[in-house]
Structure formats: C-alpha cells, structure tokens
Amino acid sequence: MTTSVLTDPVLPPGESFAHPALSYRDEPDFLRAVGSFVQDGLEAGRPVLVLVPGPRLEALRDLFGGDGGAVWTDMAEAGRNPGRVLSLLATFAARRPGRPARVVMEPIWPGRDRAETVEAARLEALVNLVFADRPTAFLCAYQEPALPADVMALVRRTHPALLDAGARGARECAEYADPLAVCAECDVPLEEPPGPVAVLPYTDGDLAAVRAFLAGRLEGTALSAARRSDLVLAVTEAATNSLRHGGGRGTLRMWSTPGRVHVETRDTGRLDDPLAGRFRPDPTAASGGRGLWMINELCDLVRIRSSADGLVLRMSMDLR
C-alpha cells in the first residue's frame, strides 16, 4: 500500500466506545478515510473487523495486500439480514476478550432496499446500547451524496459523532437520539402483501402441517433446497414460539413479491426486549431468544412488530 493514501488518522486510537458516522463522497474518499482507520488500528495491534459490502471490501482489502491481519467480511452477505450483525460483532469481540477493537461497518449503501435500511438503522441504534461500555471503536461509512435525505437523518440519530472524509477529527452529533426511541421509530408499519396470500391457522399438533404447507408452496420457486429447508426451520421455530409463548395458536401467511418469498406468523405474544434473538444463545437453554436468533441466522430479512394486538414475525428470503 502507498502511504500517500493513508495520511490522516481519522480517530485517535482509543480505549473506549466510539461510534462516529463517516460521510464520504466516492470510493477514493472511502479508501482514504477508512484505510487510515484500519491502518492505525493494525499498527496499534488492535483486532480489526471490516464489515462492508463486497466491492468496497475488495478495494479496501487490496490496499492491505489482501489481508494485513484484519478480519474481512462482506456486509452484503453476512449482514444481509441486519438482525444478525450484532451477534457477529459480539462474537468477534468475545473471541478477543479485553482487547480494544476497531470495527468498520457500512450497513446501508445506495440502493439498499427500504425495509432492510430501516432494520440496519435499528442495528446502528442497538450498537450504542450494547457497546456503550466496551472498548470498541466503530467507524460507520455512509456515501452521503447517494443516500436519501431521510436515511441520512436516521444515520445522524444513531451516531453520537459525525466525521467527514478528509476532515480532521469527529464532531459531536446534535441529532443523536436515545437508542430505544430510535428502535420505536424503526417499528414502521409492515407493508401489506400486494398480491394473493396463502393463510394457515395453526395450533398445538399442527407443526407438521405447517411444514407441509410451506413445502408445497415453495415447490417450483427459485429457492434452493437448502434455503427452503432453512426457511422451514425458521418458520417452525416461529410457530413453536406461538405455541409456547404466544397463546398456543397463531396464523401463518405466505406470499411473494418480485425476488422474494415472505412468511409471517401472527400470535398474541409480546416481545419487549429489543435485543431478543440478537446474541448467540446456549442451544440447550430454554429461552425464547434461542428461536429468534436462529430465525435471524436463517433468513435474509426478519422484521418483528409487537403491539397490544400481538406479535408479528415476518421472515423473508431472497430468490437468488
């Protein structure tokens, strides 16, 4: 790598939580700012995790000779469902106990689907909650000129500090908001299915019927056998949660939109913990969060809405 690209250290190496949003214009801008953050971290002997979408990941990794000692992860794959990123971050930190780490994230990129964007904003809010007293320095990159204004507004509400690529030092963000308030904002109403919907009420003893219903309707879709099996596993966990915690019954709905299959369970349960299902559980502990964590791991997008009317869990798979 050339040192000319990595001149300005954008953050002093810290021992405490930092979570600024980096605004960048284009790839050279990104490589310069993020590159020096990674470089500083590596030089200081910090564990470094780079979690950005594929093309940016490759360009950045090339600067470091293809590795450089950082962990390189494609956000568009590992974070396809934003609901599983917190678990990934926590696992990264837990494997390096007591060591201050650096994490680069780009959870929202130009063109990212609206529903995914809202869940990614929720992830950013929860980072503030979970890492508040941990020695992890984040740098979250946003290509501001290519992102809608309301998305950038959400970015400012989820980052205590802002940083412009090329500028020296971060500035405090006046619009930063309480993480739980942002989570509530992210509970936007779920869009109604645009076309035909298959409906199946279920109760105790119906799990095999639920699976047969799914399997029949997944037949002939572009979803691979392995991903169909993943969806069936996820929906069985969701329906099991209805039976165990959601009043003993529920209603399943299933439909398609271009490029996606959606399955939703609805029951009379409540879920008030915004962190439920976001950390790797003990598989033998009988907690409700175990099923939700699996659902997050197995599906491409998971949305949960809890209200006085009950609990809605919507699982989506991309046809890819």
């Binding site: 699976r211 069985t236 099991t240 175990r290 699996m294």
Partner: protein, 314 residues
C-alpha cells in the same frame, strides 16, 4: 371363541425382524421366531377378554407359566373371563402355572415405577419359571396406570424402549403382551407407547388404530439404540423425554445408535435432546446418528457445541 383364536394366532406369527441374541439355553430352542414383546389396544371388555385368552391359552398348552398384571380389571374378573373361554383356571393355579396380580400390589407397590428394577424382575421371574419346570413365562400387563397419577409413570416410554434389548432379546423364553385400554388411556399416549414396540400392535377386528403420533420412537432392530420416525419437535414433546432417557442408558456394550432415516425434521430442542443423551452416555461411548434430516446438519452448523458426543454418519 373364533375371535380369540384369531387374535391368539396373531401373536405367534413370525415377525420380520426377529429377536436376536440368547443367553438362555436351559430349555432348548426358543419357540419359533415370533416377537416376544407385543402390544394391543382395545376399547371394550369382550375384545379385552379375547385378547387375554388368545395370548395366554396357547402358552398354557405349551407348558409355560402365565402371569397377568391387572390394573383396571378386578383379578377375579380376569380369572372369570379366562374360564368362560375354556381355560381350566383352577387347575392352572393349583399347579403354579397361572397367577393374577395387580400392578399396585406388585411392581408399583414399592415406590415410583422404576424401569431398572423392572428389568431385573423380568430376568428373575423368567429364571424362576424355568427352574420350576415350566417351558417359559408369558405375561400380560394392563398399562392403564400410566394414565393415572402414578409416580414414575412418565418413565413408561423409556421402559418400553429399553426392554426390547435389555429383557426380551435376552430372554427368548419370556413373552409379554402390553394391553392399552383406550377407554382409560388417551389415544395420543397409546399411539406413542404402542409405537415403542417393534412388533406391530395387534388391532382387534373393528378397532381402528390410534392416529400416528408426531414422534414415534422404537427400539433399533439390531443395536443398542432407537429408530425415530416423524418429527423431533414441539408437537412430539411428550415423547422426547422418554427418548432421551432411553438413549442415555443404551450404551452398555458399545456406542448407542439412533436411526433418523424416517425422521423428517428436527428442531433445536430435538437436536439438544440428542446432544444431551450423547453427553450422558458412559465415558468413551458415542451416540451414532445415521440418516439425519437436513435440518439436523444445519442445526449442528449453527450450534457446533451440540456435536459433542455425537457421531453423525451418512
């Protein structure tokens, strides 16, 4: 008596996967290759009497000792029913060839139902019958106590799964019929418990079998272990505890086997049950899992810690 004769013949027909292994050569070869641990369900007294007589009468003629362990039925009514169908019960009793007990006075008297104690008692009773000059021991047990609030009743499935290997495979001179009275036992339980017998349950004429249980567990045909059918999920939860308990006690002479080739689905709780059974095996023993459905492989990928003690084979 025609129905009784039909039912009786049903017990002694040859079964595909005959019992193997014999420690007992004191009285010559085992009687043919009929399964020696069978079950039946019924819902009226006439059918009950046909089943009991049909099972016991041929064995009495062969010189075997007969034990009947009653639960809901009065012991005198058992004797009366056998006598009414033509058995000389008085002579049989005098010669020590027929005894009717109640479960409460015998194996449920000492405390909670205990599968380990039961296994020992079958070996002792069979040895005693042979020592007394009988050609074997044939027993009937009414299982309706499992639907009452009997301590240890939740271990009945574990027991039914274990005795295939621990009792009946080792005692070819012993045969037993487990009677499931559908008027007293919920059909869901009858389905699971009768399903735990390798021999198909005897369904008397006009008796529709109970609906297939969500999870059926039955003894492995030729190894310590089990065959599971259906789904290891929340719907089969009443059976999973018995499955785990039976599996964890099955590795005394090698690894335990669990054949999942007829299992369509495993959820995370089910995978945990298998892992827990593997962990509770004696040191150095593993749980060999064959024919696992794709979801088990996926779950073991998500939770590698569940692999401890499991040998997953194709």
């Amino acid at each position: 008596m025609k129905a009784a004769a039909t039912v009786g013949r049903a017990y002694d027909r040859t079964e595909g996967d005959r019992m193997t292994g014999s420690n007992d050569t004191r009285s010559g070869p085992a009687p043919a290759s009929a399964p020696n641990h069978v079950c039946a369900c019924y819902s009226d007294d006439r059918t009950w009497a046909d089943l009991a007589y049909g099972f016991l009468a041929p064995a009495l003629e062969r010189g075997e000792r007969l034990y009947y362990f009653a639960d809901a039925t009065d012991p005198d009514a058992v004797l009366a029913a056998l006598a009414a169908r033509g058995m000389d019960v008085a002579a049989a009793r005098v010669r020590g060839r027929l005894e009717v007990f109640t479960a409460d006075d015998t194996y449920l008297a000492a405390g909670p139902f205990d599968p380990d104690a039961m296994v020992g008692q079958w070996h002792d009773a069979t040895a005693q019958a042979l020592a007394d000059g009988c050609t074997g021991l044939r027993a009937i047990g009414e299982m309706s106590w499992c639907a009452r609030d009997v301590p240890g009743a939740d271990r009945l499935l574990e027991y039914e799964l274990r005795i295939h290997r621990e009792v009946f495979a080792r005692l070819p001179r012993l045969s037993a019929l487990c009677l499931y009275d559908r008027r007293l036992i919920p059909d869901a339980d009858t389905a699971v418990l009768t399903g735990a017998h390798r021999a198909a349950p005897v369904h008397p004429p006009g008796e529709a079998p109970p609906a297939r249980p969500p999870l059926r567990a039955l003894p492995h045909p030729h190894a310590p272990g089990l065959v599971l059918e259906g789904a290891l999920d929340h719907d089969g939860r009443t059976a999973t505890r018995g499955v785990a308990a039976a599996l964890s006690r099955m590795a005394d002479d090698g690894d335990a086997e669990v054949d999942l080739s007829a299992l369509e689905f495993v959820d995370v709780v089910g995978a945990g049950v298998l892992a827990e059974a593997a962990r509770s095996l004696p040191a150095g023993r593993s749980l060999r899992v064959s024919g696992a459905p794709p979801t088990l492989h996926r779950l073991l990928g998500l939770f590698p810690e569940l692999r401890a003690g499991l040998k997953v084979v194709r």
